[in-house]
Amino acid sequence: MSSKQDIIKNLHRSSKLIFPMPEITVEAVKFDDPVAGFLEISRFVGGDAVVLNEGDDINALIRSLYPDAEKIASNLPEITIASFNPDETDDPHNLNGVELAIVKGELGVAENGCVWIPQNVRQKALYFISENLVIILDKNKIVNNMHEAYEYVAGNGDYGFGVFISGPSKTADIEQALVIGAHGAKSVRVIIGNLS
């Protein structure tokens, strides 16, 4: 007998009538202004979010945030300050040393500052290996809470990999002292603009 069959045989059969799946309807936190909520919580989790005002140039804004960055990776056509397209590399190891990566986020969550990124670059390593990360987010795509977020995720396409990112990489493993920049990006900035 296979181990799978062994394990299944060992488990008791269900009595679904006794323990039915509950209906997941939660009256969860909502924000009068989700963008303002997102900006506030982003600061709280250490990942400054900034608003791109109507008429402002996104490349100029990013340059002002990272004036010294030279090795800048992006596959977005509108990002003209990118120094190379990371999708052209076959080996994710080559991305070590990227100073700034600029990617697109698909959905923001106001309750915790998370941004959903279904893999939209060839090497997902880019999201983590870059020293700094800029995520561009449409201001009309910020939901209130994770229930709304997962409803969106479940209904919007198939992804091989997807990640919610909320702020920079961090740890408190030495005496509970918070340190930014454990393994992933040392800074994460979400740029919220009217992209639609």
């Binding site: 799978k4 269900s14 679904k16 799946m21 997941i24 994770m146 409803e151 992804y159 005496e175 393994h183």
Partner: protein, 459 residues
């Protein structure tokens, strides 16, 4: 009769300063958790849902395991089944050997601790690198986690500084956490870049979509899995939940309960292998199916390993993770240890004051303290009951069954107040250690009542 826990705790508290720091630091985490939950008016509703979703899933686990494995396979993952720790380790080693892996980077997984995977692989010539900072510190020290979420909570910065001087060539005498963390970042970056395979645990397995969800703050799980072609996931059968809607409930509870954050930095969803790579999921039983089969005890499988029960536990906070005989400490560890082997781990049952604080913070509403209480009732059947307590119980049974004798003894009890100290506070009386006993009243309530000394309140 002191338990192993009590004896080990005595060693822990002999360093007063460290004990106090440990206690206050974990209590601070508990307070951060409270601040988070107070911002969520629907918090109790979430806990309620989490308990119900898990209860349902555990009850119908056969269905959900099959749904999960079919979905995972159709995503292109390779699913393995392991009855026990031995088989889990053999499967993992088999995959690594087949791919001629020399170096494996791991992100935190309590299941691989449970299976003792690291020594198994190291004996067979594989270099194993833990990549969570706390885990890496302990691995270099040759020690094990003392907390499931904050593994190195018992270590001081100076100890870490010394370790890094030796292993990572850091500056002498520099024990600044930022400096040390960034030193480790540089060293571990190199490990990620030179690893042949990456291993992660799983916080959740989503039955409907066959994906595995891992939550980290450091980003170590993702550094490992996005640089290596080979990703092995080690997942207990109880990690399965039905769908993404269920996940929304657990994700909202997990980080808030664990560390008082609104969310972990990374919530990563692994559905398909990396371009040109392989993703293996090892589904592990190792005793979980027997727990699922035991009515009442099966609720322990609801645990999402947030560690909130440890942070709030007054005994854990003041005795540290190493005082427990099981590798998972605190209220959940006491229970898991008993389910693993009552004979081996019954000494941990004393590490509970039955304050029930753990029950009130558990996001899956497990009756942790109630279960501990029930285990205590069974101690005698494992021949683990304390002889002195048994003797006292027998004595009390004798007295309480004889009302006249009871009344005489009660009258005489105040005499104890006047006994010389050494007769009351000695090694026969464990309750006299470190505390003053209450004084016996000169007259009992019963006798005061009869004499009309108790006045009815006529307001």
């Amino acid at each position: 009769m002191s338990t192993k826990h009590a004896k080990a705790a005595q060693r822990f508290i002999s360093n007063r300063e460290q004990e106090q720091w440990h206690n206050e630091t974990l209590w601070f985490v508990r307070q951060k958790r409270d601040n988070m939950t107070m911002r969520i008016p629907e918090w109790e509703k979430l806990r309620d849902l989490a308990a119900k979703i898990k209860t349902h899933t555990i009850d119908d686990l056969i269905h959900y395991l099959e749904t999960f494995s079919e979905a995972a396979e159709s995503n292109g993952a390779i699913v393995h089944w392991a009855k026990d720790a031995q088989e889990h380790n053999e499967i993992v080693y088999g995959i690594l050997k087949q791919h001629q892996v020399k170096k494996l980077v791991k992100s935190k997984s309590m299941l691989t601790e449970e299976c003792l995977l690291n020594p198994y692989l190291i004996e067979r010539g594989i270099e194993v690198v833990e990549s969570d900072l706390g885990e890496r510190i302990l691995q270099l020290m040759g020690e094990h986690p003392s907390h499931i979420v904050m593994p190195a909570i018992h270590k001081k910065r100076e100890e870490v500084g010394k370790l890094f001087e030796e292993k990572m060539d850091s500056e002498k005498g520099n024990s600044d956490p930022t400096y040390l963390t960034h030193t480790a970042r540089k060293y571990l970056r190199n490990e990620f870049l030179t690893a042949d395979a990456a291993m992660t645990g799983a916080n959740f397995g989503i039955a409907q979509t066959g994906e595995v969800v891992v939550c980290t703050n450091e980003g170590n799980a993702d550094m490992g899995t996005s640089l290596s072609k080979l990703h092995i996931v080690s997942m207990g059968i109880e990690k399965i939940i039905p769908d993404l809607a269920s996940l929304s409930v657990f994700v909202r509870l997990l980080a808030r309960s664990a560390t008082g954050q609104p969310s972990t930095t990374y919530t990563s969803h692994y559905r398909r292998p990396i371009e040109g790579g392989e993703m293996h999921i090892v589904i592990v039983d190792n005793g979980r199916s027997s727990i699922q089969n035991t009515t009442g005890r099966d609720q322990i499988l609801r645990c999402i390993r947030c560690g909130a029960c440890m942070n709030t536990c007054p005994v854990y906070r003041r005795s540290g993770g190493y005082s427990y005989t099981y590798f998972i400490p605190g209220p959940i560890g006491i229970n898991l240890g008993m389910l693993k082997s009552p004979k081996q781990h019954s000494d941990n049952l004393s590490a509970c004051s039955l304050c029930f604080s753990c029950n009130n913070v558990c996001p899956a509403k497990i009756d942790l303290a109630g279960q501990i209480y029930r285990w205590r009732q069974q101690l005698d059947s494992f021949h683990k009951a304390s002889t002195s307590k048994k003797l006292i119980s027998q004595g009390m049974t004798f007295i309480f069954n004889r009302p006249d004798l009871y009344r005489v003894l009660l009258k005489m009890a105040p005499l104890i107040n006047r006994l010389p100290r050494f007769l009351v506070y000695n090694r026969l009386n464990a309750w006299g250690y470190g505390r003053e006993l209450p004084r016996f009243a000169n007259e009992s309530f019963n006798s005061m009542w009869r004499k009309g000394k108790i006045q009815k309140d006529n307001q």
